[in-house]
């Protein structure tokens, strides 16, 4: 078995399509073939919010089945706070019982002596997330954006979307980047470092007000601090203290100073998508992104990402695919590949610890 267990892309130029899933009430705000920028709103959805349930029968002192007959407004009507919704005359018509709306909103339901008023809906905007053109859209389902771009799918991300100029602070992979190197040029840009993220560096990024941050790795003890950060943060390798792999660093170096999109909307409970760095490229040859899922068998000569320490996140080349299982230092016998790493070292990595790079 040489099948891959996980799959990601790190590629210089490719044509990518990104689906933006819409809530059930999502309405596209663009047209087919329309060019869009990363932070353009492609759809809006109005989410139900702030309901009020009025017990007509109690307020009008009647049976539930008669309550609706006293209503002077109907389902679907817009109503204002304080507006009278129902009136019942009692005491031979000398007194009136009134039901008034407690909020501005719309009557959405009336049944069994109860009226439901829905307040102002919460507006949710769905962004394009990548610059490109709209190639498909479906009300209440999805909008598809297509673009030519360099694509780097990374290990982990948090904090949503960002669009800005890439400012790479390192020229080679390392274990430290001095936080004192921040300057005013970094304000409003997406900063990338080829070393692990530290608390000091993160505080520097917050202070200088970057738009986004890309690092090779970080210790998980920084997570509580990250939850308070207002910009997206991505890790190319994973958790721990490992430098950025050369292939990703080279790609970031190539596009240093360019506008990039950082999509860190990582699904919390289900892996629908990987966090990714998208760098739009207007020229050059591109190949269509392979999303078919066909095959994905490891082959000799192919690049693959190693997912085990000490090479966590490193990209190597498959040298050979031994027919037999091999013994790991842990004592496990596993099928796998011999990998040539950028250091020149050749190591055996089980297929389960390798990520297919498409």
């Amino acid at each position: 078995m040489t099948s891959a267990f996980s799959f990601s892309r790190v590629t210089a130029v490719t044509t990518i399509r990104r689906l933006r899933r819409l809530p059930p009430t999502g309405i596209p705000k663009i047209s087919l073939s329309q060019p869009v920028k990363a932070l353009d709103v492609v759809a809006i959805a109005e989410m139900p919010n702030n309901f009020r349930v009025l017990k007509l029968d109690k307020q009008l002192r009647t049976e539930p089945k008669y309550a609706e007959t006293f209503m002077i407004r109907r389902v679907g009507d817009m109503v204002q706070k304080g507006e009278v919704l129902a009136i019942r005359k009692i005491s031979l018509g000398l007194r009136k019982l009134r039901v008034v709306s407690p909020i501005d909103g719309r009557i959405v339901h009336m049944e069994n002596g109860q009226v439901v008023i829905e307040g102002e809906r919460q507006r949710q905007e769905i962004f394009a997330s990548v610059p490109g053109k709209i190639v498909a859209m479906e009300v209440g389902e999805q909008v598809t954006v297509e673009t030519n771009a360099a694509l780097i799918q990374i290990a982990w991300g948090l904090g949503g979307l960002a669009w800005g100029t890439l400012k790479l602070m390192d020229t080679e992979p390392g274990l430290t980047t001095d936080a004192k190197r921040f300057n005013i040029d970094h304000r409003g840009s997406i900063v990338a470092i080829a070393s692990p993220l530290t608390e000091e560096f993160l505080k520097g990024a917050i202070e200088i007000r970057v738009k986004g941050l890309i690092a090779s790795s970080m210790h998980s003890n920084l997570l509580p601090l990250l939850s308070k950060v207002e910009f997206p943060v991505g890790l190319t390798q994973g958790f721990g203290r490992v430098p950025m792999c050369e292939r990703i660093l080279n790609l970031l170096s190539t596009y240093n100073g360019r506008e990039i999109a950082l999509d860190m909307t990582f699904s919390p409970d289900w892996r629908d998508a990987r966090p990714e760095i998208i760098i739009p490229v207007s020229s050059g040859q591109s190949s269509a992104e392979d999303r078919s899922g066909d095959q994905h068998e490891f082959r000799v000569g192919q690049k693959a990402r190693v997912l085990q320490p000490p090479y966590l996140g490193e990209i190597g080349t498959i040298n050979s695919l031994p027919d037999d299982v091999c013994r790991l230092e842990s004592g496990l016998w596993m099928p796998g590949a011999r990998m040539q790493m950028s250091t020149g070292e050749t190591i055996f990595v089980p297929f389960v610890n390798l990520e297919y790079l498409g």
Partner: protein, 599 residues
């Protein structure tokens, strides 16, 4: 066979129809692995013939489990020469001859999105806790809970129901013949919330509350609101009794319906007479069958990537608990939910990590890359430390539902512990499986440990309604691997003091071996796989037996992969504070159980 059929007592559609007589293909779609198993009749008896395995393809870029199933089945075809899928990837059924097609197909699954659920009940400590236990039998994500203790206004509860976007609302509450007004009020809220949802996105309502209201609520919700309504027996018919089976079966059926909407599951479901069953449900059924057949109490533990399942059969009652967000991969983050102290993990290591961060980083990386296996000795120890803590937490949580068992304290006596899930069943050495179980569960007395490396337990649970004969015969022909019989002592003595003296005499030929065991140690007695021996033990300062004579024991034992194991660490035991001492203790236990050859 009649015995098994009757003890199964299945009423599901799946079991209707003639018993299968021919090759059976069963697939189990897990979060990481898709496994296929072929059972066939050889010399008049069902045998486990072949298995195939492939990565599960439920996630991008595949988004279709059919691909992984196809690859796993192809491995069986390669091994046996039997063509099971045609060129279009369709199942060949019925079987034409010994090399073409199968007579029956069974599918179980734990992969994919869990069913989103909202639990509605009355009292948190009564109906709601029973409802939670019923929900724990399947892969459910409890998005919200509404009860009488809920201080939110009805409006806020409606908003919460709309935000939760549930696939199912499980309503429990009220004893049979008890008060009805509170439930009616809750139904009002649910009905209103459902009215406000888009018609085609309204959840299924599963009602398992006061029986007297079943018809009234069904009529109201179906006729007035237009939702799909399913009724089950009241999970809490009286304050003192709990019956979860009916609700659990209905949840399993809902899981099947939900799965059919995911990529590839509809095809798989159409091949199977019984649809797609939750793996946990099938494991529970297998544990029950094994218990009834051998008249034993059995604890089944499935340590998966996304979830951990505890299926127990104790004092004639079946219990099933799925810890939906606690596992070795996708569920690794669940281990950190209670913010455990770092010592919880490091106490199991033979080395001091470079930094405490390394330990937590390991867990987070397991969550990021759920399929990875430990490549180094240090990562293997971390992996096994995680496994111990997950199992410990899962069993602790599950035992809250075991009747007559204290929530904490010694594990009730189980005759057999069945281990499934690749971490436990495919370690570098089976001694690791034994050590992890002993550390996590601290069993006392005599326990048999059995591993299920081929994932057959869930498969057999799935096959049972169609062919009880296949289940019995496959179990008879050795479906599982015997790890060892372990005898654990309780009590305290001085470290290094001899607390056990004994003799192991092989039945038939062979010399009796006399031995002594020191307090604080684990000893592995050599007894080849399947070989039987008479074991006599005399204890000093410690107890050795659950009932009867607590200081001596004479039993017949059968050798497993790890021989026979004596755990003389006492119950309870504590780690020394000194790190070096702790490391050397862990090293000694590891060595005694994981050495390559029997001494």
């Amino acid at each position: 066979m009649a015995l098994l059929s009757s003890l199964l007592g299945e009423t599901e559609e799946a079991s209707k129809g003639p018993e299968v007589a021919g090759a059976i293909l069963a697939v189990d779609i897990g979060s990481v692995y898709t496994r296929a198993v072929l059972l066939d009749i050889v010399d008049g008896m069902y045998h486990f013939v072949a298995r195939g395995e492939a990565p599960t393809t439920a996630t991008p870029p595949w988004n279709n489990v059919l691909e992984g199933v196809g690859r796993a089945v192809q491995e069986i075809t390669t091994a046996t020469g039997r063509q099971i899928l045609d060129k279009e990837g369709e199942l060949i059924m019925p079987e034409s001859d010994a090399f073409l097609g199968v007579s029956c197909f069974v599918a179980t699954a734990s992969a994919g999105k869990p069913v989103r659920a909202v639990l509605v009940g009355l009292m948190p400590d009564v109906s709601l806790s029973s409802g939670k236990r019923a929900a724990e039998s399947s892969y459910l994500l409890l998005a919200d809970t509404i009860s009488l203790a809920d201080r939110r206004s009805p409006e806020k509860q409606i908003e919460a129901l709309l935000k939760a976007r549930p696939d199912v609302i499980l309503i429990v509450g009220g004893t049979d013949g008890g008060a009805v007004q509170s439930i009616r009020k809750q139904i009002d809220t649910i009905a209103l919330a459902c009215e406000l949802m888009d018609y085609d996105r309204r959840p299924t309502i599963l009602y398992a509350g006061n029986r007297d209201l079943r018809e009234e609520i069904g009529t109201r919700l179906v006729d007035d609101v237009g939702v799909n309504f399913v009724a089950a027996d009241n999970v809490r018919p009286t304050l003192e009794s709990e019956q979860l089976n009916s609700a659990q079966t209905q949840l399993a059926a809902l899981y099947h319906r939900q799965k059919l909407r995911s990529g590839g599951f509809a095809d798989i479901g159409s091949w199977s007479r019984g649809g797609i069953y939750p793996t946990a449900h099938s494991l529970s059924r297998a544990v029950r069958i094994l218990s009834e057949l051998d008249n034993q109490s059995i604890l089944g533990i499935d340590l998966g990537s996304s979830s951990t399942t505890i299926a127990a059969h104790l004092k004639g009652t079946n219990y099933l608990n799925v810890m939906g967000s606690l596992g070795m991969g996708h569920g690794a983050k669940g281990l950190l939910a209670s913010k455990p102290k770092i010592e919880t993990f490091t106490r199991w290591l033979t080395y001091e990590p470079d930094s405490v961060d390394d330990v937590l980083d390991y867990v987070w990386n397991k969550w990021l890359f759920p399929q990875i296996v430990p490549a180094t000795q240090s990562s293997l120890e971390m992996e096994m430390a995680m496994a111990r803590e997950i199992i410990r937490n899962a069993v602790l949580s599950a035992r809250a539902s075991w009747r007559g068992v204290r929530p904490r304290g010694p594990l009730p006596a189980f005759d057999t512990i069945l281990l499934t899930g690749s971490t436990l069943t495919r370690p570098p050495h089976y001694g690791w499986s034994v050590l992890v179980m002993l550390d996590a569960l601290l069993p006392f007395g005599v326990t048999r440990l059995v591993a299920d490396p081929h994932g057959l337990a869930a498969v057999l649970g799935g096959v049972a309604p169609f062919s009880p004969r296949a289940v019995v015969q496959v179990l008879d022909t050795g479906a599982f691997i015997d790890l060892c019989t372990v005898i654990s002592v309780s009590g305290r003595a001085r470290q290094g003091e001899v607390v056990l003296r004994g003799k192991l005499k092989p039945i038939g030929a062979g010399q009796a071996e006399v031995f002594e065991v020191k307090y604080g140690s684990i000893v592995r007695l050599p007894l080849a796989y399947g070989e039987q021996a008479e074991l006599s033990l005399q204890a000093r300062h410690v107890d050795i037996n659950v009932g009867g004579n607590r200081r001596s024991l004479k039993i017949k034992v059968t050798g497993g992969e790890v021989g026979v194991v004596l755990d003389a660490r006492g119950r309870p035991w504590r780690f020394p504070r000194d790190a070096a001492q702790r490391h050397s203790m862990n090293q000694a236990w590891q060595q005694s159980l994981t050495q390559e050859e029997l001494s």
